[in-house]
């Protein structure tokens, strides 16, 4: 569904991504793992058209998208939830989630999309009438991911979706997010915490200093001591 092929990205004079390649097929959950500053967010932002690769190609469902504008890429069916979700503080929880069904009217019926968002984050259903200032940092994070889920995008790019969430709810949230693969959708998650990687991820890419240093299954990365040292999973 998404093919990123040997892209190089510069921000001003700095060479941030070096020949980065990755692929996400339909119905797959794929994780891009790395430390702070390794290039995860830059990769997602480049796919979404905020940055333009100097070399290489990005194709979504066979169509080249590098160089296109962000809103055009979004219309093709790519949804993006940035790390700092940026909810609308003057709107209620319910209105924040419903916005996705207005901005992207295509797709499944609005009621089904909202139902999915509340199923993954039942705490939000209890606080539907609350506004931004009455919500904690973690609840705002839930809301930004719920809003992304309600987009019904063919492919979701999630930047650190579990950051700030209580560890007790992360397994349920992670399974809930992954349930959209049953609808034929796919997900690319950027993650800096190795313990947040869902076991059911089809593939995992480890990025360090702008280069992919590992591509494989989550189980295999644990056997690679050098890579585990980089991402902090082992001594």
């Amino acid at each position: 569904m998404l093919d990123v092929t040997t892209i190089d990205v510069y921000i001003q004079a700095s060479h941030i991504l070096r020949r980065v390649s990755l692929e996400v097929a339909a119905r797959e959950v794929v994780c891009l793992v790395g430390r702070n500053g390794a290039g995860k967010t830059t990769t997602l932002r480049t796919v979404m058209g905020y940055l333009r690769p100097r070399t290489g190609h990005i194709a979504f469902r066979g169509q080249e998208i590098q160089g296109r504008r962000t809103h055009e890429i979004a219309r093709l069916g790519l949804g993006f939830a940035p790390e700092d979700g940026g909810i609308f503080p003057d709107l209620t929880v319910a209105e924040n989630i419903e916005i996705s069904t207005w901005t992207r009217p295509a797709g499944r019926p609005a009621a089904e999309r909202l139902e999915l968002a509340y199923r993954v984050f039942p705490a939000l259903r209890r606080h539907m009438a609350r506004k931004g200032p009455e919500m904690s940092g973690g609840e705002r994070k839930m809301l930004s991911i719920a809003r992304a889920l309600a987009l019904d995008a063919d492919m979701l790019l999630l930047d650190e979706p579990f950051e700030g969430l209580s560890p007790a709810i992360i397994p349920a949230v992670s399974e809930g997010i992954a349930s959209i693969t049953e609808l034929g959708h796919s997900i690319l998650i950027a993650e800096s915490n190795i313990y947040h990687i869902p076991e059911f991820a089809a593939r995992l890419y480890v990025i360090e200093r702008g280069e992919i240093i590992f591509a494989g299954r989550p189980g295999d990365v644990h056997a690679d001591r050098a890579v585990m040292r980089v991402i902090g999973g082992a001594a």
Partner: protein, 268 residues
Amino acid sequence: MILEARNVTKFYGSFRALAGVSLGVEESECVSIIGPNGAGKSTLINVLTGALRPTSGSVRFKGRDVRGIGPVALARLGMARSFQLVHIFPDLTVLETLQAAVVSRLRRGTRLFSALARDREVQEGALEVADLFRLADKRHAVARQLSQGDKKLLDVASAFALRPEIILLDEPTSGVSTADKTTIMEILVTASRRIGLRAIIQVEHDMDIAFGYSDRIIALHEGKVLADGPPARIRADRHVVDTVIGRTRASGTTTAPHPGPLATGERG
């Protein structure tokens, strides 16, 4: 008891964020506050640091009533904090940010210094903190260009530059990659001993960090204290495991306990 809250409630409109919270922090303690999202952790930190006035109840720091006195007055009394989401000046360099904190600490004694001596003290104070927090080689970098981990460090470093007696850290390792979390905590422990900190209170979602670096854990749930005790007892508490820690993480942790970060080692 250096910091004490008794029967604190806090309402936002009709929503009750804190419902009768009582807790105390003793000299040399490192206390972690854990709890599910929306449990009231940040509200509690805001009440303890005088940023929010509780609806009812008392908050005393070194025996003084500090309800709603605000961050400036509280910093003068010897309490500093850092934030869940980093609060830094994006256009200042690392060194300028730390100098601003040192200047605000020295303001009380301005008249005692000649301008030259004060400049030297500001410069040296900022460099010392930059060094402690391993930011010295990035001292001329503009804050907004730092990595997330370094921004977090700078935010915490600014609080340390105030040379407080106690510090409250709201999720000091959130947004920091697994590989860098322990490093940040080790830096915090070293810096705390160096400046002779008397107590640390931190909000933390990472259970390895909370259990590995605390003398005591306070679990909050729906605005109430669910449990308060040493890490081993909290980890064995079924209610805490179900509502806060989660089954999978309770069974195995990767970090060896590092109890009493303030209790051991020399002060100076």
